[in-house]
Amino acid sequence: MLQRIFAVMIKEVRQLARDRVTFGMIIGIPLMEILLFGYAINFDVRGLRAAVVDEAGTSLSRALVGDLQATGVIVLEPPSTSVADLRRRINSGKLSVGIVIPADFERRSLGSDRPAVQLIVDGSEPMIDGIARSLASTPLPSRAGLQRPPGRFFEVYTEFNPERRTAVQVVPALIGVILNMTMVIFTAAAIVRERERGNLELLITTPIRSGELMAGKLLPYVFIGLLQATLVLVVGMWIFDVPLNGSLAQFYLAAALFIASTLTLGLLISTIAATQLQAFQMAFMTMLPSILMSGFVFPFDGMPKPAQWFAQLLPLTHFVDMVRGVVLRGAPLVDLKVQVAKLLVFFVVTLLIATRRFHKSLD
C-alpha cells in the first residue's frame, strides 16, 4: 500500500517539477501576493509636508520639532509666522500637517491640563488624518528633558497605531488567502487533468485503491502548502516587520490543518468538475467570498449577521482568526479551540463527501 502511495507521490512531484508554469506559481503567487498586498494596504505613508508655528521658541520646543521630524512621517517646510498663515497654507494644499507650539508650551508641558501642542490636519484626505493621529502617538524620546509622558503633549491622543496594525494584520491572513487560492486550484486541476487525459481510466484497472491514489496525490501538496506558508511568513517578517509573537510549531499546526481543509475542498471540486476549466471556475467561485468575507479585507464584526453565518462555512474565516491569534497576539491554539474545532469539522465533513464522490467518480 505504501509503495503505491509513494509511487503516486513521486509521479506527482515529477510532473509538478516538469510543469514549469505551475512550479513557478507555487513560488510566484505567494511572492507576488505578499508584495502587492503588503504594499497596497500599507498606510505607512512618509514625507507628509508639514510646517511649524513655534510661538514658544525655546530649546525644548525645538527639540520636540526635531524629534517629530526624526520619525520621518513629516518633512518640514519653512515655518509659518502665525496660525492664520499656517491654515492658509493647509487650505491651499501646500501643507498636510500644521504643528502649533503655543507660547506657554514650557508651562503646559510641566503640568497643565491643556495639551501642549496642537496638530492641524488636512481633513479632506481621510488617510492623512489617521497618519497624523499616528504621528501624535509616536513615542518621542524624552531627551529634551520633558517631564511628562510625551503622549499627553498632543491634543490628538491615541495609543492605537493604525498604520502599523493594518500592515501587520494583512500579512498573516494573507498566508491563508494564498494557501486557499493555490491549494484548491492545484489539487482540483491535478485530479481533473488525469480524468481529462484518460489516465484515471487506466489507473482504475490497476490494483491501486482510490484511497491510495488520493493520499498519493494530496500529500505532496501538504508540503508545498507548508513551503508557501513559510515563504509568506519569512517575507512578511523580513520586508514588513511582521512579528511572530506565538509559537512557530503552533503556527505550522494551524497551517497544516488549514492546508488539509483546502486540499479536501480541491478534491471535492475535482469530483464535480468535468474539465480543468470548470475546476478553475469553481475554485475562483470559492475564492471571492473567502477573500471578502473571511475578515481578511473587511472587519468580520462589521458584516451583517447573515453574512457572518455564511462566512462560517469558509475555512479561511477560521484560519484568519487562528493565524492572527498565533502570529500577532501570541495566543496558544488552546485558546483558539473554537476556531480549530470549526476548521476540523469543515475538514472532516468535506473529506467524507469528497472521498465518497471521488470513489464514485471512478466508476
Binding site: A7, R18, E201, T205, T206
Partner: protein, 313 residues
C-alpha cells in the same frame, strides 16, 4: 468447458438511460487466443471491454473473467489483467522509464524484479534508446509500444486492447501484431477491438458487433466461408452504368466498388445469383464480366451488420 475459457459472458447488457449500448451479448473466449471485436464506432465494443475489466457494471447478464465474477471480484482480477485504453493514457510529462517504473510500482513489483522486467520489455518493444525520453515527444507507434510494455509489465493472463492501433502507421501496426502473437504463444489471452478488416482477419476468433448486438461470431475463415449471402464480382468499363443497372433489385443487398470492379452481395435465397446479375446487366446493355467469388471479411461484416450500405438505390 469454462476451464478453457478466459471469458464467459451471458446476456451481457448495458444501458445508458434509454440507449442500449450492449444488448444481450453471449461470449465464450478461449484462453491463449487472440479474440477480436469488430464493429463500427458506437457498436458497443468499448462498453463491452469496460464491463469485462470492471470499469462498468452490467445492467443485466453475467460475465466471468478468468473465473472471477465481474464486477464483484474486480479487485482480485486486477493483478491478472492488462488493459490498453483506446486513448493513450500514460503520462506525457514523464519519461518512458518513469512511466514504466510507476506502473511497476502500482502493480506492486519489488525493486529488483521491476527493473529486470522493465529491461526485458524495453528490449522486446525496442524502447531501450527511448527510456529517458519524455512520452509527449514520441510518435504514435512508440507510444503504443510503451503502452503495450506497460500493460504487460506485471505479466497479466489477460490483455484487453481497445482499438490499440487507431493512431499508428501501417508498419507499426504490423510490428504490433507480431508482438501480440508473441504474447499469445506465452499463453496470454488477448481481446482486441478494431475496425480494421486486416486486423480482424488475423484473430483466432472474431465477434462482429453492430448496435450493441453480437451479429456474428467464429473463426474468420469460417465466417467468410459461411457468409449468409452470395458474393458476385462484376467487372465493367462503365461502372456507373453497371451500378445503375443493378439498382432496384430487392435481392441485391449491397454493391461496393473496388476500382473497376463491383462487389455485389445478394440474398442467400436467390437460386442462381450470378445469372441474375448477368441478366440485369444485359437488360441495361452494360458490358461486363460477372463471376462468383469468395467472400472477404468485409463482405462478412457488411452482411452481418445488416446491409446498412444497401439496399442499392
Amino acid at each position: 468447458m469454462t476451464e478453457d475459457m478466459a471469458i464467459v459472458a451471458r446476456g451481457l447488457t448495458r444501458r445508458f438511460g434509454k440507449l442500449v449500448a450492449v444488448d444481450g451479448v453471449d461470449l465464450a473466449i478461449p484462453r491463449a487466443r487472440i479474440f477480436g471485436f469488430l464493429g463500427p464506432n458506437g457498436s458497443g465494443k468499448s462498453t463491452t471491454i469496460r464491463m469485462l475489466c470492471g470499469l462498468l457494471e452490467p445492467s443485466a447478464g453475467t460475465v466471468d473473467v478468468l473465473g472471477f465474477r465481474m464486477p464483484h471480484d474486480a479487485e482480485k482480477l486486477r493483478s491478472k489483467l492488462g488493459y490498453m485504453t483506446q486513448r493513450f493514457s500514460l503520462w506525457d510529462d514523464l519519461t518512458v522509464l518513469e512511466n514504466l517504473e510507476f506502473m511497476g510500482q502500482v502493480f506492486g513489483l519489488p525493486g529488483r524484479e521491476r527493473r529486470r522486467r522493465i529491461g526485458e520489455r524495453a528490449e522486446e518493444y525496442a524502447l531501450g534508446p527511448l527510456l529517458d525520453q519524455r512520452v509527449g515527444t514520441m510518435s504514435g507507434g512508440q507510444r503504443q509500444r510503451l503502452a503495450l510494455a506497460a500493460a504487460t509489465l506485471h505479466e497479466p493472463e489477460l490483455l484487453l486492447l481497445d482499438e490499440p492501433t487507431s493512431a499508428v502507421d501501417p508498419q507499426s501496426r504490423r510490428d504490433f501484431w507480431e508482438s501480440l502473437f508473441g504474447l499469445v504463444n506465452r499463453g496470454i489471452t488477448i481481446l482486441v477491438s478494431t475496425h480494421y478488416m486486416d486486423e480482424a482477419e488475423r484473430c483466432h476468433r472474431l465477434a462482429i458487433l453492430a448496435e450493441g448486438r453480437l451479429v456474428a461470431e467464429g473463426v474468420p475463415q469460417d465466417l467468410m466461408r459461411d457468409i449468409p449471402a452470395a458474393v458476385i464480382e462484376v467487372e465493367a468499363r462503365d461502372t456507373v452504368a453497371a451500378r445503375r443497372a443493378l439498382a432496384g433489385d430487392e435481392a441485391i443487398r449491397s454493391v461496393a466498388q473496388l476500382g473497376l470492379r463491383l462487389h455485389v452481395l445478394l440474398d442467400p435465397g436467390v437460386a442462381s445469383p450470378e445469372e441474375r446479375v448477368r441478366q440485369r446487366l444485359q437488360a441495361a446493355s452494360v458490358e461486363a464480366r460477372v463471376e462468383t467469388v469468395g467472400a472477404s471479411l468485409e463482405d462478412v461484416f457488411v452482411a452481418a451488420t445488416g446491409f446498412r450500405n444497401g439496399p442499392v438505390h
